[in-house]
């Protein structure tokens, strides 16, 4: 039997706008392994797409966390809420010298909007833990970025940083999807939203 992800159209639409060139870490193994072997003579990596995607994810999670902080006292089963404002600027990087591609701005806004609405339906304790763990992910990415500034091109740091950004996206997407799947006020009439098994 194959388990497929939920058909969450809005979230998937946002995710679909993210770059196709950010592959799972498993596909990066050969290149990373080669760089490890070739460490003394290596030059800096060029991952513009990965860096841009990473920046999008960090900004998205920052916005979500900001909305969490502002809404800490919201009741568990509150009705629909206003969308969280999206920060207008982003300042993060994938190592030194990479910046966000403007093409990701629209995708970021959609992702943030979708997640902001759903997170309000989570129990406060779970929301607080989610907030704390998003902070943990940001601290991790910040720490690795700091180390990368000192050791640009380090394959271990680059791999861990990319994995951290991917984890951050996964956490945001999963939190949104799990909450939506069990929210039975909204889905009662949506008979097409089914989980294929």
């Amino acid at each position: 039997m194959t388990i497929r992800p939920d058909d969450d159209r809005a979230l998937e639409a946002a995710l679909a706008r993210l770059p196709r060139s950010v592959d799972p870490p498993r596909d990066l193994w050969p290149g990373i392994a080669a760089r490890v072997e070739d460490r003394p003579g290596r030059s800096g990596l060029r991952w513009p797409w990965a860096a841009a995607a990473a920046v999008v994810l960090v900004v998205a999670s920052s916005a979500i966390t900001a909305s969490l902080v502002r809404r800490a006292g919201t009741p568990v089963a509150a009705g629909p809420v206003a969308e969280a404002p999206v920060p207008g600027t982003a300042s993060t990087a994938f190592g030194p010298g990479h910046t966000l591609d403007p093409a990701y701005d629209a995708a970021r806004r959609n992702l943030v909007d979708e997640l902001s609405r759903r997170i309000d339906r989570m129990p406060p304790s779970a929301r607080q833990r989610l907030e704390a763990n998003l902070g943990e992910l940001r601290r991790a990415s910040s720490e690795i970025n700091g180390l990368l500034a000192e050791r640009p091109g380090d394959p271990l740091l680059e791999e861990l940083l990319l994995a951290t950004y991917q984890d951050e996206l996964a956490v945001l997407a999963n939190a949104s999807q799990i909450t939506a799947a069990a929210d039975l006020r909204a889905v009662a009439d949506e008979t097409e939203k089914r989980i294929p098994l």
């Binding site: 304790s125 833990r129 704390a132 943990e136 799990i178 089914r194």
Partner: protein, 307 residues
């Protein structure tokens, strides 16, 4: 659920009225009796069962009948229990009103044909599954998830709830995602893809084929026997990683940490990766070297042993 209904005489100044109001308020605050659930329907022996409940609990048990039975208590304030069967799909949902504040917990006890595939979604309700041989997809925001699995795939997602999976020892795919919840996987085999931010993961595998386990700050522990062609990746930012391999070992090991310590029971010692940095790495082959094990951390310590 507590519903404070404001009586019409609330503004009456008399002591009698005040007493009457207090009595009414006390009565309103008393626990309401939940509505009993007792429903059943014929079902396909290998159909799909979807269960959704916001708060309370969901207990699903596989049984040898081609029938789905739902019992339990519907929490006060819930709109209704939706229980439908259409073709191979049986759907059980606790539907809440559009504006639902303080709805009581609902307890669902569901019996399903043991060959069913199962999907359960909750917000804070705990999930317990036993005796279901089909694939399982279990998701909860803050409820704990406990399941016994067979040879089919299992996917579990949780934000803050803890997870406990007991496998059958047969190969399958277990996909696990938690944010802060701890997870224990026992007697699983085949492929495990597990990811957590701060939860601790303890995994016991009878047979490791291809598995990838990651954390940000949670500790990772994996004990198991490596298949000849196993591919095992363990990765953490600041969590510690412990790998205990059972039985004969034929694998290439690639272990690296930026700022942690490496302990290796197989003999070879880690080497510094850079004269001016704290990182160290360890590469060695044991036995045939046909399997591959990669372990990486930023700050976490790593232990690799044969036990």
């Amino acid at each position: 659920m507590t519903r404070m209904l404001r009586p019409a005489f609330v503004r009456a100044p008399s002591a009698v009225a005040a007493l009457a109001y207090a009595a009414a308020a006390f009565a309103a605050a008393s626990p309401a009796v939940a509505a009993s659930i007792d429903q059943r329907s014929a079902a396909d022996p290998a159909g799909r069962i979807e269960v959704a409940n916001t708060a309370g609990s969901v207990t699903v048990t596989g049984w040898p009948r081609n029938e789905v039975e739902v019992t339990g208590e519907l929490g006060e304030g819930s709109e209704r229990l939706e229980f439908t069967t259409q073709g191979k799909l049986t759907r059980i949902r606790v539907v809440l009103p559009k504006r639902s504040y303080g709805v009581d917990e609902t307890r669902l006890v569901v019996k399903v044909p043991s060959g069913s595939g199962l999907s359960v979604n909750t917000i804070s309700a705990d999930i317990a599954v036993e005796g279901v041989r089909g694939g399982q997809r279990l998701q909860s925001v803050s409820g704990n998830v406990r399941t016994a699995t067979a040879a089919q795939d299992v996917e579990i997602k949780s934000v803050s709830g803890d997870v406990e999976v007991t496998g059958s020892g047969a190969r399958s795919l277990v996909t696990l995602t938690t944010v802060s919840g701890d997870a224990t996987l026992a007697n699983v085999a085949g492929e495990v893809n597990a990811n957590t931010v701060s939860g601790n993961l303890a995994i016991t595998m009878t047979d490791v084929a291809r598995s990838r386990v990651r954390s940000t700050s949670g500790d990772l522990g994996l004990r198991g026997r490596l298949a000849a062609d196993a591919r095992l990746d363990l990765e953490s930012i600041s969590g510690d990683i412990r790998l205990d391999i059972a039985g004969p070992v034929g694998a290439e090991f690639e272990v690296s940490t930026f700022n942690g310590d490496i302990r290796n029971c197989f003999g070879p010692k880690p080497v510094r990766t850079d004269e001016y940095a704290p990182g160290s790495e360890l590469r060695f082959q044991e036995g045939s070297g046909s399997a591959q094990v990669r372990i990486k951390t930023l700050n976490g310590d790593i232990s690799v042993c044969n036990k």
